[in-house]
Symmetry: C2
Subunit: 166 residues, 2 copies
Amino acid sequence: MKAIIFGADGFEDLELFYPHQRLKEKGITVHVASMQKGPIRGKHGYEIAADLAFRDADPADYDILVIAGGKGPEKVRLDKAALEIVKHFFRENKPVAAICHGPQVLISAGVIKARKATCWIGIRDDLIAAGALYEDSEVVVDGNLVTSRQPFDLYAFGREMVRLLK
Amino acid sequence: MKAIIFGADGFEDLELFYPHQRLKEKGITVHVASMQKGPIRGKHGYEIAADLAFRDADPADYDILVIAGGKGPEKVRLDKAALEIVKHFFRENKPVAAICHGPQVLISAGVIKARKATCWIGIRDDLIAAGALYEDSEVVVDGNLVTSRQPFDLYAFGREMVRLLK
């Protein structure tokens, strides 16, 4: 099994590393994707190397997509290849887990309409304007989609993310 | 089930939050203990409230002890009540998971002699001088004791920590 995690400079550190290590714990190969291959830096200073650029990723290779929050998603959502990856996952009904500001990428990919979801409260109104059915809970599961609000929800996010892989 | 995690100002953020959220994911109640009840701050700036002071903790209440790394352990190891908690866990053969600089607390509690363990490489020689059987691997399991080296080992640390609870 293989996972792809979206990140970019300013990513929320715990929101990238928790699912990254949690999926590795399950024996899953995890690739971090960004606008370019190479190091990216979280808002709290942690660094990780992006394994590949969005444009070089074949989404058919991956079984789950994770979108970390922080300041990364406002950059990621401008990358057309990233949005094509997101659309592939929704078209194929494969697991997608997005936390905090991560759902900004789902808005830009046009996949959030009529889906139950949550997010960082500061972008709640954007999610609602895009047609999502917003809920204020630690984790919301709607079919293939798992969403959470913030780093202290990671325990619930991780639990449901792993459950989707079964 | 209940877990107690040791932390103090300067804790390694991922090494505290990963096991904290991972144990919550399993439905386990997690308490953070420090020299005083109240907020502690990680070296990367994350804050969490310590639920109780070491001196107010009854170790018999807890099923697993986790010791996060960073700059916290050099403070924690000076607290006699913290060391008494560690000794209780070893006497009762209950699970203990320590990562990075966390084993400094095990040295001070006098429980590491003749035990297979790993740690942050910068304190390797202290572990060896204290009589531990040091190994350079992502995770070392010796009976009730799980140890790891650094944040990128968390996936293996988490896996073995959870396995000890079974």
